[in-house]
């Protein structure tokens, strides 16, 4: 593979794919940058004009921006915390030798294969509905007042739905990591007199540091752009209580028809994602070094 001829061949064959991917990326980005400098409202076509950084000033000073930024961070942080804190014990359980484990594993993985829109609808109408939902029925059975999830605790409801969707992913990654833990290490710890809890703290948890890092990084990428679950359940409300950055951009573009401001918001979101990525890699990335 290292001869000049094969290198040339490889480059020639790769070029179309790389070029296509590059165009696919650069054209939308360039257009977004272009639109973000225009006064461009879909209700007022033909009136586009250059306004400089006015759209950015408008987007960043909008009170909805700070609220949605906070919601985004709370949502990402909570879902990460839930999926890892619940995922680790769940993976430990699934690592045990029990009859029928393959079926249990399959069922645990299942939520990940349900598309976000569908699972949000199921949660909204079958589980969390204050009148006909399963949770309301359970509450009434116990003589309690049913919780009106999406009005009383809207952000928590959204977090629960998304955590339910991402829990299988975290569990799966952690489970495969557990299965690679050397059995002799656990036995050595047993010989050394470590209790089950000590073994978990001193042997298992350090072994899981790397997969936990992977889970955090991958989930963060997707959780920063959560949209379908919010759109289907709360529509960003009540008020701005469940509006995140992605949903705010959507509402700028397709509720207020302000393409210019939405483009500016999109670019702000890119910057925010990069800031988050920078801090994440600084904090947890060192776990990935061999």
């Amino acid at each position: 593979m290292a001869t000049q001829q094969t290198q040339l061949l490889a480059r020639t064959l790769l070029t179309p794919a790389v070029a296509l991917l590059f165009i696919w990326m650069i054209v939308p980005l360039a257009l977004t940058v272009y639109f973000s400098t225009l006064h461009y409202n879909l209700l007022d076509p033909g009136s586009e004009q250059f306004v400089g950084l006015e759209n950015f000033r408008y987007f960043l000073t909008d009170p909805a921006f700070l609220a949605s930024l906070q919601n985004t961070l709370v949502l990402v942080g909570s879902v990460l915390a839930i999926t890892i804190v619940v995922g680790v014990p769940l993976a430990l359980l699934l690592d045990q030798q029990v009859v029928g484990l393959s079926i249990v594993r399959l069922m645990v993985i299942a939520p990940f294969f349900v598309m976000p829109t569908v699972s949000a609808l199921v949660w909204k109408n079958l589980l969390m509905h204050p009148v006909s939902g399963l949770f309301a029925w359970l509450a009434k059975l116990l003589g309690l007042t049913p919780i009106d999830w999406f009005n009383d605790v809207p952000l928590l409801s959204v977090i629960l739905i998304i955590a339910w969707q991402w829990l299988p992913f975290a569990t799966l990654i952690l489970l495969t990591a557990l299965q690679s833990l050397d059995e002799e290490q656990k036995e050595a710890a047993e010989m050394d007199g470590a209790s089950a809890i000590s073994t978990f703290i001193y042997i298992t948890l350090p072994h899981l540091a790397r997969p936990i890092t992977v889970v955090i990084l991958i989930e963060t990428i997707f959780l920063l752009t959560v949209f379908a679950e919010i759109f289907v359940t709360t529509g960003g409300g009540p008020g701005l209580q469940t509006t995140n950055i992605a949903f705010l951009i959507y509402s700028q573009a397709l509720i207020q028809y302000d393409v210019g401001s939405a483009s500016a918001g999109g670019l702000v979101a890119v910057v925010i994602a990069n800031i988050v990525a920078f801090f994440l890699v600084r904090i947890v990335g060192r776990n990935l070094e061999a």
Binding site: D182, E184, Q185, E187, A188, A189, E190, M191, D192, G193, A194, S195, S198, Y202, I203, P206, H207, A209
Partner: protein, 334 residues
Amino acid sequence: MGQITLQGVEKSFGPVHIIKGADLDIADGSFVVFVGPSGCGKTTLLRLIAGLEDVTGGAILIDGRNVVDVPPAKRGLSMVFQSYALYPHMSVRGNIAFGLKMAGLPKDEINRKVERAAATLNLTPYLDRKPRELSGGQRQRVAIGRAIVREPKAFLFDEPLSNLDAALRVQMRLEVTRLQKQLGTTAIYVTHDQVEAMTMADKIVVLNGGKIEQYGSPLELYERPANLFVAGFIGSPKMNFVTGEQAKEHGAATIGVRPEHLKVERDGQGWQGTVAVAEHLGSDTFLYVDTGPLGTLTARYVGELGLSPGDQVSLTPEPSRIHRFDDSGNSIRA
């Protein structure tokens, strides 16, 4: 003290009997090697003594106390694993100290013991390194350090040298033996390598198919094997077995002669054969001689006779060194 006694120890995994009743008396301070072919149950027997597996039947006594229901950590034994099983995210110091930390010893005492163990094993310069920054031999020493620091009643070694290269294995073999003698702690050592068994052991346990075939000192096993299996397993190259007329002459079903006890001559009155292969090691030579009805016999002689494949030779067994076995394979004592 570290006297270990097995009484009718049995182990089965479901319907499969791995250990079929083992009785054994291991004296305090002795170095005992379990040796046998793969799957003979030697590692299982070690794990039963360690407490990593539950016995199906029988009793294991450590210093007279039955420990079959005692958890591993409370048996006062420490184990060196085949893969070393070092904790990868802990430093060498952390690895060696872990058992003491779990036992809840005060910090300064832990430090003192760790430093002393490290000094014994020449690990002091590496105390703050992680296992992955060490060579195979150093990792091996850390694993041993982790075992000695707890001052156990006995060490259990599970094929600890099998991951090292040949030269290092010889060196570590010496180090382990010397350390054991110096500490005077009982040691049980599992290996499939009979050279390790012969060189390290005070006493060897030969296991086959879950049964103890013979228990004795290395020379006892070499000179007076209890049966065909032990005779064939101990010694390198393997003992030659001859059946039929030649065996009947000695009043046995099978006779065995070690390669080093066959006299090789160009023309003599012994068993006649043709040299098939000659392995010249310099110090001595191994001959594989095709003797027709007796099969291929191995002979070893010191020095050079200048033989090459195709040459005719005569092999004469030393009369006093002939091992005789009856129909069921047991040794016949004169």
